[in-house]
């Protein structure tokens, strides 16, 4: 097998966190090569069409997503420059301090090996780098941290109408914090509120990796190798260190030696690669002495609430993520009128396109024929929508495993298994009832809700203090391998009730600084 020239750092995956770590480590003077399974793509490939946008999606290496409540894999993933983050909606939140201590405070899930204060400065640094828009004072639930560098999003009519419903129920809303420029930021244009974010924002307004960390990584000299799938991590004979990776590209396999390897393949691909790298010393997969690799896969439990109003709502205006936020339901304990552990938040007032899974059409799967077309003509003017994002408790049985079938690179494909527990089902039912009530209070002439769905992929390689029950430490370093790190939402022991990318980025930011500072310790 051909051997490439050794580099300091190999990163697997050019998505959000792989790009971030590449930018930071290259800036720290390390030679960095990033391997990305998907293609290179630039802004011009992000066509404004929900039909074309489906080409951005998907992880091809899944045999089946099964279990009682299968997770949506293709919808929740992406491949190519910028990973899933290229078509993400940029709703960026901090976890709350108690999210890090679910086991010790509430007896469920697992504690993180770090607390909010350990991550606070990284949150502050990341938000300054990419530009977050919001109103910190109005977010009464927000943990302490620096003010947002960008002014908050404007409210459009849909936001005004739905805010009325929250106010009448005695609930609070704030502008939604978004990694989208509301005014020009670091050479990027400001948003024009046309709601094409799901198809990938090509203007640079939305802080996806193409205009942030991936761009900066290249500027700092990191090499990005596209259409290059890492099929195996290679260890030394003792099994205590990785020596490099095997890359499959254009039908050829070669060995890329590295002093340190970071796997940033997202929640499914990261455990897949470690499982597929089993050796005699690591018979259950690399870094799987605890048996937890691939397990505790989880997702946020989500549900959409929809309605029609007599007044015009301009549902096409804004961004896909929404206009407003409510975290009044974030408190964790079971309480009167709340029969579940964990909280939820509302993302309010999405800009909705007519078609597609999160578009207006799919909100009424029951209608067809002339009635459906009449609904569409009405709804494009009078529609409102919001989404509950709720906490689900990670279960060991929810997992990624290797399948027998191989992909075109000769790598075992994945089998994904998932079910919701009763707690998540109760949370969903509670939130949907509240959401429909809010719509009615806002004056909706019709209000309904969507099915229980998974949103975001988390876990599968969780971090923890105890090597017997986790895969990595608080920096993402695998307990059993001195120079192997993991980055991304697969590290999350629990996911709180907020979208994960800000936290995954803050974790990666903290880890990159740590690796740079402790380089000798990990590579000697």
């Amino acid at each position: 097998m051909r051997m490439a020239k050794e580099v300091d750092v190999v990163i697997v995956g050019a998505g959000q966190v792989g790009s971030l770590m590449a930018a930071k480590l290259a800036a720290a003077g390390r030679s960095v090569t990033v391997f990305e399974a998907g293609a290179e793509r630039g802004a011009q490939s992000l066509a404004s069409s929900q039909i074309w946008a489906r080409q951005l999606k998907g992880t091809p290496g899944v045999v089946a997503s099964g279990g009682a409540d299968p997770l949506g894999v293709n919808f929740n993933t992406g491949q190519g420059a910028g990973g899933s983050a290229v078509h993400h909606y940029a709703c960026w939140f901090r976890l709350h301090p108690e999210d890090f201590e679910m086991r010790s405070r509430h007896g469920v899930a697992a504690d993180w090996p770090l607390g909010y204060e350990d991550l606070r400065s990284a949150y502050d640094a990341v938000q300054e780098e990419v530009g977050l828009a919001g109103d910190a004072a109005a977010e009464r639930w927000r943990p302490p941290g620096a003010d947002y560098p960008l002014p908050p999003f404007p409210r459009f009519r849909q936001g005004e109408v739905l805010a009325r419903g929250f106010a009448r129920k005695g609930l609070h809303v704030s502008p939604l914090p978004l990694a989208i420029a509301t005014v020009p930021y670091k050479g990027r244009q400001s948003c024009i509120y046309d709601g094409w974010c799901d198809a990938g924002c090509p203007t640079g307004a939305l802080a996806n990796p193409l205009v942030t960390y991936l761009k900066w990584a290249k500027e700092q000299g990191a090499a990005i190798a596209y259409r290059s799938r890492v099929v195996r991590l290679v260890t030394d004979e003792a099994g205590g260190r990785v020596t490099g990776v095997i890359v499959s590209r254009d039908g050829e396999r070669y060995f890329q030696p590295a002093a340190l390897v970071i796997v940033a393949g997202f929640a499914l691909e990261t455990p897949r690669l470690l499982l597929a790298s089993a050796t005699e010393r690591h018979p259950q997969g690399l870094a799987n002495g605890s048996g937890t690799l691939g397990r505790y896969l989880h997702s946020h439990v989500a549900g959409g609430v929809f309605g029609l109003f007599n007044e015009e709502t301009d549902p096409h205006l804004g961004v896909n993520g929404g206009q407003l936020l409510c975290q009044d339901g974030y408190a964790k304990p079971v309480a009167e009128g709340k029969d579940f552990v964990g909280g939820y938040q509302w993302l309010i007032g999405h800009s909705a396109k007519p078609n597609d899974l999160l578009g207006i059409a799919c909100s009424r799967p029951d209608l067809h024929g002339a009635a459906f077309n009449a609904f569409m003509a009405d709804a494009v003017k009078h529609f409102g929508s919001m989404t509950a994002v709720g906490e689900s408790l990670p279960l060991a049985e929810n997992r990624v495993e290797l399948a027998r079938e191989l992909d075109e690179h000769g790598m075992p494909k994945m089998q994904v298994t998932h079910r919701w527990d009763d707690n998540a089902k109760r949370l969903y039912a509670h939130a949907m009832k509240e959401g429909v009530d809010i719509f009615r209070s806002a004056g909706a002439r019709e209000a309904w809700h969507g099915p229980m769905a998974g949103m975001h992929l988390l876990g599968g390689a969780r971090m923890g203090k105890d090597a017997a029950s986790s895969v990595t430490d608080g920096y993402g370093r695998c307990h059993e391998l001195a120079n192997l790190f993991i980055a991304g939402p697969s590290l999350f022991p629990s996911g709180g009730s907020v979208n994960p990318t800000f936290t995954a980025s803050a974790l990666a930011h903290r880890s990159a600084a740590h690796i740079a500072a402790e380089w000798r310790r990990y590579t000697a």
Binding site: S48, W52, G66, C201, D356, A361, P365, A447
Partner: protein
């Protein structure tokens, strides 16, 4: 609260049955024009025109918007280049078989219920059949899960009728493309 069928839920793949080979189908007249446009169609012309009719029943206007061409074009693309809504459903099987078997199951059901193929039914009968399929448990049904087939096809219809520049215009919406798509949907180069 309106109780809507949870159409966005994931399909139950364990129930996904392969259509039995040779399941009874009413022969439809071959459509020479369509065949000429698609020299190597992914679906045979009978299935494509039946699908077009089925889609037009789900979302009126879909046939005229190019339903048959859309499906043929997507099925001709490699799986990871397809723009089909079906991608979101993590359907593990072959995309062509999904549509071919689903259309066939619709036609067989029409035969059993009404003694005529789907194409020969009048509009109210077609609509009633759609309702039964959407409810998810029609019998006999040999094909992909009925509720899933309905849900996916309806989303396809919404793409065609409302998801293109022409569809936006019809709804009175300004398309406001950042990057204009090269065509309404992708096709093999």
């Amino acid at each position: 609260m309106n109780k809507h069928k949870p159409g966005c839920t994931r399909p139950d793949r364990r129930d996904a049955l392969k259509a039995a080979a040779g399941a009874g189908l009413l022969a439809l007249a071959p459509e020479a024009a369509l065949a000429a446009r698609q020299p190597e169609p992914a679906l045979d012309t009978r299935s494509a025109s039946l699908w077009s009719l089925w889609l037009d029943t789900l979302v009126p206007g879909a046939a005229q918007a190019g339903a048959a061409d859309y499906l043929q074009a997507q099925l001709a693309l490699p799986r990871d280049h397809s723009a089909l809504f079906l991608r979101y459903m993590d359907w593990p099987g072959d995309y062509r078989a999904f549509y071919r078997d689903g259309i066939r199951a619709v036609d067989v059901l029409a035969q059993v219920r009404k003694g005529r193929g789907f194409a020969a039914l009048d509009a109210p009968a077609r609509s009633a059949l759609v309702g039964e399929i959407a409810a998810g448990a029609p019998a006999p049904w040999v094909g992909p899960p009925a509720g899933l087939f309905y849900f996916v096809c309806k989303a396809d219809g919404a793409d065609l009728v409302f998801g293109t520049r022409a569809g936006f215009k019809q709804l009175g919406l300004d398309y406001r493309a950042h990057v204009e798509p090269a065509s309404a949907w992708p096709r093999k180069a």
